[in-house]
Symmetry: C2
Subunit: 701 residues, 2 copies
Amino acid sequence: MKSDPDAGGLFAPERVAVVGATEREGSIGAAIFQNLVDFAGDVVPVNPSRDSVFGQECYPDVASVPDGVDLVVIVVPPSIAVEAVQGAGEAGVRNVVVITAGFSETGPEGAQREQELRSVAEEYDLTLVGPNSLGVLSTPLNLNATFGPSNALPGSLSFMSQSGAFITAVLDWANDQGIGFKDVVSLGNKAVLNESDFLRYWQDDPETNVVLGYLEGVADGRTFIDTARDVTQETPAVVVKSGRTDAGAEAASSHTGTIAGSEAAYEAAFEQAGVVRAENVQELFDYARALDGLPTLDSEQVGIITNAGGPGVMATDAVGESQLTMASFTDATLSSLEEAMPEEANIYNPVDAIGDADIERFETALDTVLGDDNVGCAIVISAPTAIVDFGELATVVADRQAAHGKPVVACLMGGERTERAAELLGEAGIPNYFDPARAVGSLDALAVQQDVEARSYEEPETFDVDQERAREILTEAADRGARRLGVEAMDILDAYGLPIPDAELVEDPADAVKAASNIDGDVVMKIVSPDIVHKSDIGGVAVGVPQDDVADTYETLVTRARNYQPDATILGVQVQEMVDTEAGTETILGMNRDPQFGPLVLFGLGGVFVEVLEDTSVRVAPVSGREAGEMVDELDSAPLLRGARGRTPADEAAVEEAIQRLSQLVTDFDAILELDVNPLLATADGVQALDVRLTIDPEEL
Amino acid sequence: MKSDPDAGGLFAPERVAVVGATEREGSIGAAIFQNLVDFAGDVVPVNPSRDSVFGQECYPDVASVPDGVDLVVIVVPPSIAVEAVQGAGEAGVRNVVVITAGFSETGPEGAQREQELRSVAEEYDLTLVGPNSLGVLSTPLNLNATFGPSNALPGSLSFMSQSGAFITAVLDWANDQGIGFKDVVSLGNKAVLNESDFLRYWQDDPETNVVLGYLEGVADGRTFIDTARDVTQETPAVVVKSGRTDAGAEAASSHTGTIAGSEAAYEAAFEQAGVVRAENVQELFDYARALDGLPTLDSEQVGIITNAGGPGVMATDAVGESQLTMASFTDATLSSLEEAMPEEANIYNPVDAIGDADIERFETALDTVLGDDNVGCAIVISAPTAIVDFGELATVVADRQAAHGKPVVACLMGGERTERAAELLGEAGIPNYFDPARAVGSLDALAVQQDVEARSYEEPETFDVDQERAREILTEAADRGARRLGVEAMDILDAYGLPIPDAELVEDPADAVKAASNIDGDVVMKIVSPDIVHKSDIGGVAVGVPQDDVADTYETLVTRARNYQPDATILGVQVQEMVDTEAGTETILGMNRDPQFGPLVLFGLGGVFVEVLEDTSVRVAPVSGREAGEMVDELDSAPLLRGARGRTPADEAAVEEAIQRLSQLVTDFDAILELDVNPLLATADGVQALDVRLTIDPEEL
């Protein structure tokens, strides 16, 4: 894969060759060639079995084209597609779109073919889209190198989709809605270029305001997060990720062979990357249009002006369910409104200008509300009345938005009578919806994006840890054939600065007594064996052992373990200081590896909170300080860490540091496949890891 | 308010008088009169200051109209509106629509006027809509007695709205969408007729298939639940209730003066009443159209047929997030599909007929899938392709739905090219959406309604209780001036069959010793004072008191209470058997009174589950056995009652019985304003109420 491909060559070529161009009706080769007829540059058909295609001279291969080409579109059958790509590469062309299907989506033979394609692309350093793609499209040069039935209107949205059919549906619909695009790409099987490459390209494209995506998976989770995090600081990215549910993920796998990362991982990754997630097609375009057309949101306080009480209440409800809040007007605003409105009107937010409101009353109210420093954005709602002409109202809304520079959305409610008004509003970038909830949703998308842009990315902190010591412990375990480690691995946590109780692993009763003597008071003793997972269940844990009983207890624990499982490897007994778990809150700090995103860190409160209520939060490692804080915030049970019900508040900073240190550990060692610190006891004085389990893959050490 | 008004007279009159009819441009009196021009019956203008209105002879009052009228529409100014209504009543007219505004929505004077209007209506037994109404409309007789700008298309939806402006917006939009109505009513201030009356009327109206409502509140919660529960067994009712959020409720109150019941109460009431709740306008009409046009759903298994993988995945995701499930096809279905489909197609659900699918392939696939007994309904998805004509596909979809009698919804995706197809589908009652999620939402509404119709309403059980004893305890407390009761009221629970520990309230140390001697082992002793709420905090509770210490402990508790609050009324000390709370799960069973719905019963697990996680369920009393079961089911923490994490499962039947017995208690006594049994200990052997607090209103005794 190219580290920094210039996707620009795909969207702004000068000369395009269609390899496999033909005149055969219903063929893809004919459809693409005909779609390219209005391209601002040159289009050259390539096909060894034809002299001409639709009246243009046809060449046997790319190398034979006089003056060369800078983009090649491949539509030949799969059996000769790789060869055709190689021909393009040999002819010095860098930009290739492989329309041809019959690659990894069809089974092992196709997967092998895709591997060959990838090798050729690497050899010739190709910027390659597909295979199994509908093609690419870019409106500034009127480049339509797709075989779909519709072209796109010009616009400032750029759209990538893992479903070519979805592109055809969207373009047909968008043309009708007057929604335009800058670039569109059908990602196909993503053999070379993937979503991260296009995100990166569109970030630097001055003609792209918003990136839209339909994805069923991402090719490389880490690259996606790093790229998107950077891109979304300036260019909003709205994505529908399908395959969210188990059934959907299965369907996606059968559709594009996507190996599903977990839904939790995608949710965390999109959040960390600042991607605005849309749940469905309607949200995808509602959000994209708002982010494209409206001014930046400076504050989340909404002012509502309506001539209809009911829809005003609906809008207010929707605000209550969003990230936005209802603005409180200043006294000056209230005075102005009182003066301008009839007595029966409501001058408080939502402003009800009542049914006989004319254009002037709407204009005054909107102007007054937008002029209020407490108001960050506004919604104008109108039911159809004999007095209000929607076209005039649309003009007023557009003018007032321009004058105040604050986002305004409209609900001019009705049927055909709203069409002209919607067009006028659309020209000013203002969406109009019948449903007040959708209008609020549009403003809410601005608020989400504002938060993304406002947060500054902080590098995850690198703590001063003893990585070598951790590696030694892991290597030692691997050398003795262990795959699952328990308390004997507590020192790995210690090496990464996670506090653990005083404890020692001893191999005979005498050492146990010695170890205990270094500890004040009674001790806890645990059998240590990689083969015995549930130590408590077999009586392998003794709590509150007086110093005098330590030797006997050693023998008892070992005997019980031997009786329970004669062939178990017994590493010894851990002698540990007593910890008062009642003095704090038991939490769980865990990690597993996601196939797409790598190490996922999980945090939650112990016991029923994780196991029954599933109240956990997840982030892709490495986790920054801000993200660790969010992981605590997100828990419904967070108040229990913070002193709810008369508890002593836990040291939250210590909890967050523990999350980050664990994140560093699992990022440093690919060999750690799963890890659970359970419990991590959180008290007012800090945290302490009381037990650990991990699974390792020695191959990765 | 009439107990059984015949709203039919409002929608199917023979002769209508418009009191206040005029020709003045822009006036409501002119607008209504002109909207009535196409009415199938007669329309008569009434106005003492005119001889004729738009060429029709005008009469000074209703009594003077020759041959009489059977519906009167009042549009005179508020000052003479009540008089005009009285005139109609005296003339023997029963059906009145009061358009005139300026009643309770405007302040105290208006409220007084509304009270007079209500008295007149009672006196003449009027079936009265309004005041402050847009009017009524019914398509079979082409009756448009509204002053809105649009008439309605004929149809089988009947619509009531607490916002007149919302009706004008909806009609304008619906006409454009081809959505028709049977009756429409603007409820106005609901001085006489309210939502329950219209629900009841439309239940028996053969021309109404689905009732739609926009409500900001209900006039009488109990009547609403009882009526709607009955109606929704046969006629679906889809309602947007606005004022869901705090901000929205405040806006609703300012709009229509609605006194908000709590959102939790509405949610419970709608659930108990079988009302399908829509969150926004889009859902309101999506659900209504599905329930109106589609056949009944027999099973929730969905089959999906698509020519586009991506949208198929989106639909599958939406199914995963709905009440529906993806169907598993039989082997016979899979064989048939395998035979009919090309090799690259996916024959498993969602069926991907791939991009080159023609009409025949779609038809075969749909026919095969609908013929599968495992399939209850289907979604047909098509991206635009050169091969598929959407009009033809629409015909196939409608035919196959008719042939199999199973609901089918469509996602023929695109812009203008879908319009003709959408019309054809619409004629067959089949909705077409671009967004697969909305198509799934339509089918999901059928599933919700199917559940409503499938459940048989069971009368809440009436347990054999000692109501008199409970009354005596309440009266006695009221007589001594108490408003807040504590453990001294435990016997109320006992009288209603809620198990309580052995306990006795004693007033001196000697009686305490005697009481303790009737109990085995150690006892619990608690100070009993209506003035001391947090007994534990002041050392007013002694747990594990040996029999020998009972007398001393009595003195200690009383002394502590006196020191803490010298003026506190001390009723004595409760001597109670020790209960091992570790042996079960602490739950909370509570009740408060909602302004709209009366007694609300609440259940949850104790401690953090209620206080921090707010994991509770609520129902309007009286609560049936099924509803009590649902209250337990709904809790996220329910597994903890059922043996999660090695617990002994609690006796769930006993929990449900306790909920019902408490429901009976609070239904029997309006005097109980609030009540909390906390904890109600649930063990494998049953439940036990360990403490109680209640607030009473002696006026209601």
